[in-house]
């Protein structure tokens, strides 16, 4: 089990957008170049962030992506879940909600999420 590269790209893109306080949108070409990833693939990833309202996209010439209003409160967990989905890391089949193993796994997972919820991109700028 690994975090996907897509999550990595999303996090670094958010950090980059937050670092360049430019109000003008930044094209996906530029963002992709910084991370050595193809623009079309990055675009696909960023679309997920747009749908979650974390960033906004502007079509047409001089278009690109920029942070949404209220971006300062976006946590690592928000970004990760936008890419990876919100489902639990651990599936316990046929053992029901009372499965003691499941309980341990879920509580441990929750510890990580607490920390990821606490940390924001804005903290790093």
């Amino acid at each position: 089990m690994k975090f996907s590269k897509a999550t990595n790209y999303a996090l670094h893109t958010m950090l980059f957008l937050a670092s360049s306080k430019n109000s003008k949108p930044i094209g996906v070409q530029v963002l992709a170049e910084k991370q050595s990833v193809s623009p079309t693939y990055l675009s696909k990833i960023l679309t997920k962030l747009v749908k979650e309202g974390m960033i906004t996209s502007v079509s047409g010439a001089n278009g690109g992506y920029s942070l949404s209003h209220g971006w300062e409160s976006i946590s690592f967990l928000d970004i990760i879940q936008a890419i990876e989905g919100k489902s639990s890391l651990f599936d316990c089949y046929d053992h029901g909600p009372e499965c003691p193993i499941r309980k341990v796994m879920l509580s441990s997972e929750e510890k990580m999420e607490e920390e990821l919820r606490r940390r924001t991109i804005a903290d790093l700028v």
Copy 2:
């Protein structure tokens, strides 16, 4: 990103072995049946636990798997890492060890591992 089913099987097998205090080894057939998984596949998973010294296997008739001496101190993390490997959940390419995002991810991951290290199968019996 998900924990693999193999990890689930490994954890439940450990719990089952710990619950049935029987000193006699238990055949993979029995263990597999409890979890609705094929015996040959489960065997492959359990081999990893054997290599890590958590359980021992006995060949031949009336053979099977049983807990190793000192099993009481085996943590969830031990079992999970035996199956999933010990590498970090988050890879940061080309950003070096000073990458601030990497630091946040690793520290969050560490929170989960702390909890998994604290919890043992023996606690659940």
